[in-house]
Amino acid sequence: MPAPIIDFQHVTFKYHAQAEPTLHDVSFQIYPGEKVLIAGASGSGKTTLLRLLNGLIPQAYAGDITGKLTLNGKNIVEQTLFDLSLQAGTVLQDSDAQFVGLTVAEDIAFALENDNQSVSHIKAEVSKWANRFGLGERLNLAPQALSGGQKQRTAMAGVLVDDGKLLLFDEPLASLDPAAGVVAMEMIDKLQTERDLTVVIIEHRIEEVLSAHVDRVIVMADGRIVANGTPTEMIQSGILPENGLDEPLYVKLLRRAHVDIASLANVADVKQVVVDENKAAIEQLKIPVKKGLHHTKKLVIENVDFSYDKKQRLFKQFSTVIHQGEVLGIVGKNGSGKTTLSHLLTGFLMPDSGDILLDGKSVLQQSIKERADNIGYVLQNPNHMITKATVFEEVASGLILRHVPTDEVEARTRAVLKLIDLDSMRHWPISALSFGQKKRLTIAAVLVLSPQILILDEPTAGQDATHTGELLDFLATINKQENTTIIIITHDMHLLANFVERALVVVDGQLLADTTPAELLADEKLVTAASLRTTSIYQLANRLGISNPEELNAAIVHGQV
């Protein structure tokens, strides 16, 4: 066996700013040519592990390290960040922030410029790598003109110009829609085989990563490695859900059909797993797709026209009806009008013509503030919303600004805080909250105004399965108790499949489909148009020759207890 490229022996790490170690006694090896997934819920220590690998610890984040950790046989701690960067290239989670150049070409060139290489050499390398990543035509484009997938490809090219043999990905799927995610994983797969790379992927979206032939999965929880084995072993052992991670949807389905997963070969690959003898049991799970559950018209959008500039009209005669108490999903590829639509509803933007009616009355004359009393809007990035120092103040501020009496402010704020499970932390400074907690806090700050409609932009972005589950429970509660209409803009497949009742597919300002998620995720044409992908359940149903796969999707949607 060759020597490992990465070797950790009993590594414990504590940030100086923290009282307890973040990593406890971590030992693992990664060998040349392997593709390894490091999975774990938020706070499991997987980001810290990555920082140890690329040298950001101890150089950007100070702390105490014990144990032995080597890269290519040399002690990591004794090498500079710069030395390490030549051996291990890192693609950060936020490929937009990683994009430091003014254009694609300059971003790819960045590392070589810093090595003070000759301009002619840099130009040759940039052109070679840009072509390899399909960016040859886009060399002069600014990051604002690129899609998420293109930015990430630029980031990969910008790291691979070093010809390093080890590539580290920090949540590569986080900022991509599902279709772009599939392309990215295929690209990583292809690169790895062609260039004999070693690839380490940090991710909690297991389903997508497993589709790209991972050799090994390391599962982390509470700063420890709790499992280390092949994907098949991981699924068989059922260790993923125990540690706050989502299993692939088809595995959930198989479990529900009482298939003996613990001894099922190839269970980690939906294209290879053999479950023909369970076909009958799986088919029995089918349930009819529920639709048309709600009938009271709440919000009516009538013949809305809208354009950002005079030349190009985005929405043309757009009409739809949203019902009271509905959980509605708006899907579609990036830049096709999802966010614009929500901005039209909240008054951030005004339609050129047409009308928007709430309970039969036009809202177009109302200011943003007035509309927010009825239509609450939670932005994707909680940092865009938070203005106060403590949890209580943040939630109470909307009420205070509306001159609600003090004792009522107290009562309503506490009630909402209890609902989202932050009441015990109400005096905490907001800076001490985790990302997931901040997200819930911003929802609370909107909910306290008792809106009849709640619009959430990508509510599950950056949240692991456990936190997503908590968030959905909480949204389900207010949906049931207050009959609040919930509109979710998302391309999170699990969220769509598990929670949304009705889905609008908006592409280029057109309402392409008004359907249920179960049907949507079983329709290849629609899925492609919306930059989503079909569920693994659909793929399994196809292989087994089961008709009406949407009824199997529905089993996951509504079968949830």
Binding site: N54, Q98, L102, S367, K369, H384, M385
Partner: protein, 276 residues
């Protein structure tokens, strides 16, 4: 949008666009320094003609720089008025003669004062077109490369490029935050009083600062992970090789300096004095 268009840089097919950032920067610094030193009206007028001729050649449209022009003109007028208010006799001091035009006592306005302020105005008028040409015909990264080449440390030169890179992002953050805060109940629209509006505006700053700090942390890590700061020198993708054109720009700039210095000697100082 093919390029970052802040400051109006655009690819135009003119010799000024094709000249390297370094040459233009050196030319700009040489001519404007000489023009700032000299108070020779003939020299300043000549520079003004040169600047306008260059402006024509650069093919920059009026609407592209209209805002900048208006801002500078407003500033120039305020500046001239302030000079008149604070030092109405400075012209007399400078030129050593006194030819009263109108007014009396402290407020006597002399020909000398008017002439002096006319010279000041000329300085604005010739340097503004030059600055516009520099900014509008130089790719921002090449501009940074140019700064680095004339001796500005590359970390500082690069910070210029990176600022341009993230300004659109910060603008869009600002816009989003402002809307979100209005939804929360901070009136920033014209419906509210000035006090309420300024209070509302403060609410945008805090989230903007936190969002930007987050971004800066990620950016600096991304830069370090690709070895920014490792070497003493750095090469620039956008750097252009010198050509004949650039040499001509250098020669031209030296010519302007020679004429300027020559006039300093002939005039026996910075002033051209028509009153003696």
């Amino acid at each position: 949008m093919t390029m970052n268009n802040l400051f109006g840089y655009k690819e135009r097919d003119t010799w000024l666009n094709h000249t390297t950032g370094t040459a233009k920067l050196v030319g700009f610094l040489a001519i404007s320094t000489m023009g700032m030193i000299s108070y020779d009206t003939r020299f300043l007028l000549a520079l003004g003609v040169l600047a306008i001729a260059l402006m024509k050649m650069a093919q920059i449209k009026y609407h592209e720089y209209a805002l900048m022009l208006k801002l500078v003109l407003v500033f120039a007028v305020i500046n001239l008025v302030m000079v008149t208010v604070l030092a109405p006799q400075y012209g007399t001091q400078l030129y050593g003669t006194h030819h009263a035009l109108f007014g009396s006592g402290y407020w006597t306005i002399t020909q000398e004062q008017v002439f002096y302020e006319f010279n000041l105005l000329l300085k604005y008028l010739f340097s503004l077109p030059l600055a516009i040409i520099l900014l509008f015909t130089t790719n921002p990264s090449e501009f940074a490369a140019g700064l680095n080449k004339i001796g500005v440390p590359y970390k500082i030169a690069y910070s210029f490029a990176i600022t341009l890179r993230y300004i659109p992002d910060v603008q869009s953050d600002y816009h989003t935050i402002s809307l979100a805060q209005q939804a929360r109940g901070y009136e920033i629209s014209k419906k509210a009083s000035l006090l309420a509006r300024s209070k509302g505006a403060v609410q945008i700053i805090l989230p903007l600062v936190f969002t930007s700090l987050d971004r800066i942390e990620t950016i600096s890590q991304a830069m370090e992970l690709r070895r920014f700061g490792r070497e003493k020198k750095r090469s620039w993708y956008q750097e252009q090789a010198f050509s004949k054109r650039d040499i001509l720009v250098f020669v031209g700039s030296i010519g302007v300096i020679v004429i300027g210095v020559g006039l300093l000697i002939v005039n026996g100082g910075r002033l051209y004095n028509p009153f003696q």
